[in-house]
């Protein structure tokens, strides 16, 4: 060492310093990588699609229009978002002075609305017309593989389903309005009201307050969630509207005998409760049926053979926890999203295990909160759309931020960037 010049020695020190620093950094990084994995485990987080509310979608409606209770949403092949809402029928007088002629704002928007991805309102139509019976209380919207728009209804007299073109040209009605009315009963009644009406879950022609429609492109069949008065899934030919088959819970023959009220912990009912609120077919051809008040999702083959069921938030009473489902947009549809309008959450569920991975949302009127989150759909990018009934009266978009480690319960998914 003594032979080395001062310069060489200092260089040796610097070289050794660099080597030591590089080594220390490499070790530090490896240790941190390990503890990162451990940290994630310990926090009880889970890998799942992560969402953020998009508070700027959609854009304000034109013409001082406002939404009524919004009870259906679907995304078409162009990635346009279609909603249906109950407009003036669910607006208080002080919400619609323009319509009443008592002020400048506001008026109910037409019931069927189409939005593009930028949130612009495109087509708008709906209401009574020639050749068909518009529902008393429209409910559920679906755009089929031919670009046709399907609409159900859960008003007292609604026992039919309608099909239109995207421009609102009437194409088909299946079922007759008023078919469920008891002979000699007075007109009127409210949503879910059975006074004066009787279920007809074995009727081959008409239905009982249809909540939602799903059209299977492969078989050209429409699955009707039937409904608020009937207790069945009904399958019709999508062109002729003719009934092809139907079934109740567990694939049983449906029975309209009124059920005792839902009690947490009691054995599950052998029939669906009202309403049967969704019936969506997955890519592997499994039909997921929402027994909303029964707090369960039942899975069937397209022929109606019972496969399995799963229960969610079983302490929920009154309106139930399983309102609507939507599948994730990956080719396997690995996840499904359940709208829960009582607990005001969207549950992210592993479709295979049917277990809840995480949930987001909370009650309230701010962006990302819910008041009666009723319907749910996904677009091509995997974003989620929800509509809210009651006084919620809005459509919201939750942007898919990709797979991420998220908490089991995320609360309001406020945007991380404005």
């Amino acid at each position: 060492m003594r032979n080395l010049s001062k310069l060489t020695r200092s260089r040796l020190f610097i070289g050794a310093g660099f080597t030591a620093l590089l080594g220390a950094l490499a070790i530090g990084q490896a240790v941190l990588d390990k503890s990162a994995a451990a940290q994630a485990q310990a926090q009880g987080t889970v890998m799942a699609p992560r969402f953020e509310i998009d508070p700027l979608w959609p854009k304000p409606l034109p013409n001082h229009w406002v939404l009524g209770s919004a009870i259906g949403v679907w995304v078409d092949a162009d990635d346009h978002i279609w909603i249906i809402h109950r407009s003036s029928a669910t607006l208080a007088n002080n919400e619609k002075p323009l319509e009443m002629g008592t002020g400048e704002c506001c008026a109910g928007a037409p019931p069927v609305l189409e939005f593009d991805q930028a949130g612009n309102l495109l087509r708008r139509w709906g209401g009574p017309g020639q050749g068909y019976e518009w529902p008393d209380s429209n409910h559920g919207i679906f755009i089929d593989h031919k670009g046709n728009v399907w609409i159900g209804g859960n008003g007292p007299n609604d026992s039919h389903v309608l099909k239109f073109t995207k421009d609102g040209k009437f194409l088909m009605q299946s079922g007759k309005k008023g078919a469920r009315r008891r002979a000699g009963a007075a007109a009127g009644g409210n949503e879910g009201d059975v006074a004066g009406f009787v279920g007809g879950s074995n009727d081959e022609v008409s239905f009982g307050r249809i909540a939602k429609i799903f059209v299977d492109a492969q078989a050209n069949e429409a699955y009707l969630s039937d409904g608020y008065l009937n207790k069945r899934v009904a399958v019709i030919d999508a062109d002729t509207g003719k009934l092809k088959r139907y079934w109740g819970a567990y694939g049983n023959k449906p029975d309209d005998t009124p059920l005792a009220a839902y009690v947490p912990g009691a054995p599950p009912a052998q029939q669906f409760r009202n309403p049967v609120h969704c019936s969506d077919l997955s890519v592997d051809r499994l039909l997921y049926v929402c027994d909303r008040v029964g707090n369960r999702l039942q899975v069937f083959t397209p022929e109606g053979k019972f496969v399995k069921e799963a229960f969610y938030d079983t302490n929920t009473r009154n309106a139930g926890s399983v309102w609507d489902i939507a599948f994730s947009k990956d080719p396997q549809q690995r996840y499904m999203y359940i709208a829960d309008g009582v607990n005001e959450k969207v549950k992210v569920v592993d479709r295979q295990t049917m277990e809840v991975l995480t949930q987001f949302g909370d009650g309230g009127r701010q962006p990302g909160q819910f008041y009666g989150v009723h319907s749910i759909a996904t677009d091509r990018a995997g974003n989620v759309y929800t509509t809210e009934t009651y006084e919620g009266k809005r459509v919201q978009r939750f942007v898919n931020r990709g797979m991420a480690r998220v908490a089991r319960s995320q609360g309001v998914v406020w945007p991380t960037a404005r």
Partner: protein, 444 residues
Amino acid sequence: MCMIAALRRFALLLAGLVLLTVPVAAHDLPRDVTVQAFVKPEGQTLNVLIRVPLKAIMDVEFPRREQDFVDLTRVDQSLRDAATIWLSGNIDIYEGDTLLPPPRIVSTRMSLESDQSFRAYDTALAHLAGTPLPADTALFWEQGILDVHFEYPIQSDRSYFSVHAAWDRLALTVITALQFLPPGGVVRAYELEGDAGLVRLDPRWHQAAARFVVMGFYHILEGTDHLLFLLCLIIPFRRVRPLILIVTAFTVAHSITLIAAAYHYAPAALWFQPLIETLIATSVFYMALENIVIAQPARRWLITFVFGLIHGFGFSFILEHTLQFSGSHLLSSLLAFNVGVELGQLLVLAILVPFLNILFRYVVAERIGTILLSAIVAHTAWHWMTERFEVLQQFPVPEITAAGLASGLRWLLLLVAIAAAAWLLFVLSQRWTKPASRESSPAE
């Protein structure tokens, strides 16, 4: 001639006004339409598959049956007419510089909007060769989709192809999602808006490079913040030798981060862009301040290098969406962009240096002039800095997690490795340039 042209223009204007006032009967120009296209050269044939929604096709009558459903037994001629008038009639395809003749229609299909076959070339081709929709399909005519398979004769599938798709009249907004599949299994995707002009599907490296040189050149000339940074750099250094060192340091540094970003080494988080924009403003502010405080700043090349790293990320943001045009020449295109930036800088220097020299010689004393100019720049930069910081502040501070720290350490590791390599080079270069005797002289 001039008179005739003016008359024609007037007539067109009049026709346009009339069209605007007369309600269009059945079929409005759609708001937005996506055209999907595949272009695949195979042997002496160029296969072009195109899908377009029928709602975008005007003035072609489609035979209908009850309820305005398409009569699929009689629709074939209408599909061929639509394919010729609206699609092949408005697309020019070049092999090298030769315009290809009008194509042959191999097949047309009417499809449902839910059909997924155009996700890939092979499924689209199979769909176009497969069985058509059953004749009794109840399909409302405007809700159908037109699929066409065109064939163009070509000399070789190895030729260079370019496309000019003028489909902008199909809708108010037309997006063409085009995939080019040259031999060898690569798929190159382009997303063109409206009439995007001539697009080279497989640009040669110099074509790709030329495009990026121009882009880089204009970018630096349009980037006021980069220009002010440059101005601050050179106010105290207006001679060639120090300038070369400083400009080289800046160029090398921004090339490193620009290339790193293009290869996805930069953080993808949303806060990253505002952070870089704020830091760029800070760099200008700092440089201006240094000019005011220190007359002849030492080692300016070093600080220039550090700030150059930041400016490189800034350049990467504008390149994000245009890299698809580089074809397979990503690296050469990036370097070309840097060359363009360099040329732009040299142009600015060629103007600024003599200007400053004249200014300091005839108008204001050098030191005072330096301080005044720098103060003006500092003022502007200060405003940028606060404005951009406000944007940055809207992002929550990222949580410090082990995963975040680990990725930070990876960057640090890389930087230390670069520093070590640079130091080693420095030591070795000194060994080579200095006489061996001094190093090896034994201490006797």
